[in-house]
């Protein structure tokens, strides 16, 4: 009976595996991969090696290279570079001659003013954002790992129903839940204590991300079943199996889910805007539009630049997880 169950699990894991998008250890997702890609630099793309020897192709590719680089730098990086420049330019110069580079010298005044507790106090809001991101990350990771583990490895009878309901929520536009969630935070059933201005109102709903649970479940589905059986035979219970076998093997997907959880929360505006009405508790994304009207342009731009630093540095640091996860996003939804 046990062997038949193992066989059944093997079979289903193979089935999932054959259409799987990501196996542990892969550096990039291979979407709809049909055959083993040829490894190394010999991989042939659109342009064959004989093509490469033709001067017209060589020049053409060079031109495309240059165009793409210039285009991406100007379009992708340009606005950010302008923001960085404006951060240390006096407001008067930004307004009167926005494209000139420091016509009357650079100054740290904007940054000082943006950082000052008497003025914008951007540090406080960055800190609030960090607190919000950390709590949301913790809730999301807890729900996704334990839930994914229960659905993929432990597989109770209700797993199928729960997975179906998760898939249903995956396709549900978030706006549908906006009003009932807001009402629940203002006037929760049973508790009768408003959670407006409480970080729990942001942390807990963040956990209800079916995307996280589903990619976690798919990853667990692809872990080798033999290993679980071996651990069970060695006497490991489900708790031990989770902490000592499954989690350590899931570092890549934990990385992907983590960077996306943090960045999504850093970018979030509408929900924290609705539930965190106390200015001293708001994250930077909510605070910036609120002060935009009454703040000197240079100071506002400095605050905006400071708000970008953490996500950009985080992205450059964890770019592999980001780019892998982004490719995965299209694949999972498809």
């Amino acid at each position: 009976m046990i062997t038949s169950r193992i066989r059944r699990r093997r079979k289903s894991s193979e089935r999932v595996g054959s259409e799987s998008l990501m196996l542990p250890g892969h550096r990039m997702p291979r979407i709809r991969r049909r055959r083993k890609p040829v490894a190394g630099a010999t991989t042939q793309g659109l342009i064959s090696s004989s093509d490469w020897n033709r001067p017209s192709v060589k020049w053409g590719v060079g031109a495309v290279h240059a165009l793409l680089l210039v285009g991406l730098v100007v379009i992708g990086l340009g606005p950010l570079l302008w923001l960085a420049k404006a951060t240390i330019t006096p407001t008067q110069d930004i307004i009167s001659n926005p494209m000139a580079i420091f016509p009357h010298g650079a100054t740290w005044n904007n940054v000082r003013e943006a950082w000052s507790p008497q003025s914008v106090h951007v540090g406080l809001y960055i800190w609030n954002t960090v607190v919000i991101c950390f709590g949301s990350w913790l809730v999301q990771l807890t729900v996704a790992t334990t839930g994914g583990y229960a659905l993929s490895v432990l597989r109770p009878k209700y797993a199928r129903v729960v997975t179906g309901m998760l898939l249903m929520t995956l396709f549900l536009p978030a706006v549908v839940l906006l009003v009932p969630l807001y009402i629940m935070v203002v006037n929760p059933p049973l508790i009768h204590h408003s959670f407006i201005n409480s970080y729990w109102a942001v942390w807990l709903p963040a956990g209800a991300s079916s995307f996280n649970v589903i990619i976690m479940k798919r990853f667990f589905d692809n872990l080798p079943r033999e290993l679980f059986e071996a651990a069970r035979i060695d006497g490991a219970g489900p708790v031990r199996l989770f902490f000592s076998v499954v989690l350590p093997m899931s570092k890549p997907i934990l990385g992907v889910v983590s960077v996306f959880a943090v960045i999504a929360e850093w970018k979030n505006f509408l929900w924290p805007f609705l539930v965190l009405q106390d200015a001293s508790k708001q994250p930077i994304s909510v605070r910036l539009p609120a002060i935009a009207g009454q703040t000197e342009l240079g100071v506002l731009l400095a605050a905006m630049f400071i708000a970008c630093i953490v996500p950009i540095v985080g992205f450059l640091f964890f770019q592999r997880s980001f780019l892998r996860g982004s490719g995965l996003g299209g694949a999972i939804k498809g």
């Binding site: 042939q44 495309v64 991406l72 494209m99 009003v179 505006f269 506002l300 770019q319 490719g327």
Partner: protein, 317 residues
């Protein structure tokens, strides 16, 4: 010691006897409780913050409420929305936004993805550059572009266009240009994510097909048209529907750029929902807001189903 042993063997016997009946004891002993404990965070969080609110949405849409009293009003909320003169405007604007975003935003990531995948050197750098706008907080992106769109002759875009003797344009305060301006920013902010999806898909394209085509003497364009595109078809269809679903829910751009103006030219469905529920300082019309959000969700669901049905044969061909 003895008694402990006895109870243990007793429960085991009970367990064996009742295995077929699935009593709570057999359930716990079979690991059911541990499993449930693992599933509990998921069930609680989704139950409270996803599944229950889903049901609640439907209920609120047929109620009138001030958060203290709830009265049943049947389909009145839906009638209110449909008879609101702003409703057709919002629908039209949202469709316009989606259309413009499709024209501006759909081909760009595709072309960029195909080009980038061909360039072996610096591909990583290109991917990072393309993705950079995606990690910037959208609020910052919108406020930054709002500065760029400054309508005076010394605005950033007007200065640049002034170099080639164009403008100055009013951008956000112009009825014709406001919406395209919003779409332009939104495309800038989101295209990078789609580029990465294409790039990931292109890595999976079978290189042997290219080799075979080269041997047969196929030109570059024929290879793009007959190998790259067909292999990307599935992903292209997915990104298209994802983009349409995303643009149908555009909120931040109209809310922060224009607040729906000028003259309701950028009022979108989501902004209207927000205005129903939270735009009025006297208290929200939550019924109308949920009614409209349900109509939007229903439309998107039907649209997606029809789309998937219509493209199924084409995508798996």
């Amino acid at each position: 010691m003895n008694t402990v042993d006895l109870t243990a063997s007793e429960t085991r016997r009970v367990g064996v006897r009742h295995r077929r009946h699935h009593t709570p004891v057999t359930w716990v002993r079979g690991g059911g409780l541990t499993t449930l404990l693992f599933a509990l965070p998921l069930l609680l969080i989704f139950g409270v913050f996803s599944w229950y609110p889903m049901v609640r949405t439907v209920i609120i849409s047929i109620q009138k409420t001030n958060l203290i009293t709830y009265t049943w009003v049947g389909l009145d909320n839906f009638r209110t929305v449909i008879h609101d003169p702003l409703f057709p405007i919002a629908v039209k604007n949202t469709a316009y936004f989606a259309l413009l975003a499709l024209i501006f935003g759909y081909p760009v990531p595709l072309v960029a993805g195909v080009l980038m995948s061909e360039l072996r050197r610096l591909r990583g750098l290109y991917a990072v550059l393309a993705y950079l706008p995606v990690v910037i907080p959208p609020v910052v992106a919108v406020l930054l572009w709002k500065t760029f769109y400054d309508g005076s002759s010394t605005g950033v875009f007007n200065t640049i266009l002034g170099w080639v003797h164009l403008g100055p344009y009013y951008w956000l305060s112009s009825q014709q240009m406001a919406m395209p301006a919003l779409v332009l920013e939104s495309t800038w902010a989101n295209a990078g994510a789609t580029v990465i999806i294409y790039l990931a898909a292109l890595i999976g394209v079978n290189s042997e097909l290219y080799e075979a085509a080269s041997v047969d003497g196929a030109s570059l364009w024929r290879k793009v048209w007959h190998i790259t595109m067909p292999q990307l078809r599935g992903v292209m269809l997915v990104t298209l529907i994802l983009q349409l679903i995303g643009t149908a829910q555009v909120f931040l751009e109209p809310y922060l750029f224009t607040g729906g103006g000028p003259n309701y030219k950028t009022l979108t469905v989501l902004l209207l929902i927000f205005n129903y529920a939270f735009g009025n300082s006297l208290g929200g019309d939550y019924g109308s807001a949920t009614a409209l959000s349900l109509m939007l969700a229903g439309f998107l669901a039907v649209f997606s189903l029809v789309y998937l049905r219509a493209t199924r044969s084409w995508s798996t061909e």
